[in-house]
Symmetry: D2
Subunit: 214 residues, 4 copies
């Protein structure tokens, strides 16, 4: 797993001592969440892109096709230049003011993941796709019980979205090839902690099989 | 800082490239949050305690005295044996069923941090002290603008509480000697990410000075 | 309907002009919510009881039996003497301090609706059963799509609960014999507005048939 | 008061029996909320406008000037043609599909209340301005303790917004000349219930004096 060599064995043993880990499985009504796969977070020319974001986009596109083929709900998130200090929040970041962020397509979802007209794109401000949006009510509308969380960055918006989904009692699955991060350590540690406590971090192939096997 | 040697320099450089880090400072009306400092999470006999939880309790007690002396609001969280599967949620943990967790004082806040009658203790189910509780409305009642987050574990309930506080636009401060974790890597990475994005991770002494200097 | 003679025809015509009304129907996975049927809100000796609260309790008991027989989820709410000003909130009420409210059973759910050990009772502070509780995550756990809202008072906690359920995209049904209020006008107007906009206000018999006909 | 003659004296006496009513007053940091004053809800040509919406807009404009003069935060809400069933929710209304609702300015805030570039407009789906928006975090950013709620309709989105504000422990004030409704009974009953339980329903002049007298 991606955290081997990052989380020392003694620390993994601490989790065993508490009885952490195991499997949450998969429900009957999954939804796919694609977190923040917009140009400024995918294109290496921007200061926010993880190195492997383009390949991650390609792999998410494959999973997206599986969801669309089965007519299952799919949700995207992006951001925008917020107009006021209160709507921008207290992010400790200055890079969003960089000239390149003024590009017209900076906040567009990348073309290979382009949302269809009947798919919803949340414009969010905070890490979690749930915070300050109607994602929760839209999941309830579709009677979703399982969320498959993909996108970027693993340790930030992906993790925050997983945590909120878990705290609302959704079954959480993270296909490990479909998330990416700027830092390998942050990526590995986030996946480890999600797997120990909140959801199943599994190969993309496993998610596809679970989707098929419902 | 605790993350040096854990987060490689090249990964720290990625954060610099995005303009992360900086300072959020301190507001005029701080509240102290003491997350999950109950017996089962502090006493080394239990499977959930971080090794340095007892010393962390002692340091939090000092900060608690500073808040009480100034009559500033203080909030605690604990858990309980929840009666139904739906109220227990989807935690991937079996250790909560261990015989030792049946001890009468397993969910009591440790004596040196014992809440006073006029201090509120939230019984929570999920990582964040905000999830499914009235913490937010109580902070609003007290016109709080800054939360100082302490307790255990850094990478779990402390981090989840910081993230929700940040996503509600509170100024977040984490005094680094007042949080602890079962794993040193998880601890360091959580603090690094909070410091880069969501709040100020600073020495306890700095928090005390900020409290004084309002 | 209970609002005829209370809402003038000309005002009902305004709702027709906007295309309000219609039917939301019933989903596959209903849950029953029993709002605030505790002694102080049911027993006429207390200053908060609606006159017809005891008969309403009897009718709710019948519906509760239907839900239990089908092993469908059931949730209750009550209140308690909250310990701090911030946890009591900004209710404009002094009656909660009356001597009778100190009775040991003031906040007990009335005996004919006594919750079973495997049924959850939320201790709430605000009108809606969702506010500051884990009701939402528990409904999600049970994959509920429809909430049947009963209890007291129609224009206060029942209405607030219906509004939050609607705003989370649940299908809302209110069996009109299973809600009561201190004032006949408030009762009628609340039911009219729920029926026009947010959910189906229907005879108890209709709810039982919908339950049967899923 | 507007509810005299609508709520019978015997029913008002029931509220006295419970000790309802009184005053919540005004805090130090008020914000103004202008709920749904967009063309389709103000212009009498549309099926959703209250008859006195235009005069209400004029009176809100006066209060808006008072808030702007003091550089206090101001927030607006509007709606839009939502793209999917899940994002439209379960509103029991067909009038939103009327041809007139396709007008380009149907969802524009009316000109005399036109938001400035530094004032935020929430695009909301549900009654309360808090539901599925970042209003709460923006109020927290501005350290608001009091919300003055204006707009349309009194018994729907205004009331829902007041209820959520109350449930988050904000001090709620409703200037009675600055809210309007399609129905006189609904209007009066909503104001009565807000005044009894959740906030202060007072003349506009009183709000202006409280604003001045902080």
């Amino acid at each position: 797993m991606p955290w081997d060599g990052v989380i020392p064995e003694a620390e993994q043993a601490e989790y065993e001592r508490g009885g952490w880990g195991g499997t949450v499985g998969f429900g009957e009504r999954p939804a796919l969440l694609v977190v923040d796969m917009y140009t400024a977070f995918v294109d290496p020319a921007y200061p926010f892109a993880a190195k492997d974001a383009p390949e991650t986009a390609t792999r998410i596109a494959g999973l997206l096709a599986e969801f669309r083929r089965r007519e299952l709900p799919v949700f995207f998130s992006t951001a925008r230049r917020e107009p006021t200090p209160a709507s921008r929040g207290r992010w400790k970041v200055t890079g969003t003011a960089a000239p390149i962020m003024q590009n017209a397509d900076a906040y567009d979802i990348v073309p290979e993941l382009a949302p269809r007209d009947d798919e919803y794109v949340f414009v969010k401000t905070y890490p979690s796709m749930f915070a300050g949006t109607t994602l929760l009510s839209q999941l309830i509308y579709h009677r979703v019980d399982t969320v498959v969380v993909t996108g970027t960055v693993t340790s930030g918006c992906v993790r925050g979205t997983c945590l909120d989904a878990f705290s609302q009692n959704y079954i959480v699955n993270v296909p490990l090839e479909c998330v990416c991060d700027r830092g390998a350590v942050s990526h590995a540690v986030a996946l480890f902690e999600i797997q120990m406590k909140y959801g199943d971090v599994v190969p993309l192939q496993t998610v596809v099989e679970r989707l098929e096997g419902r």
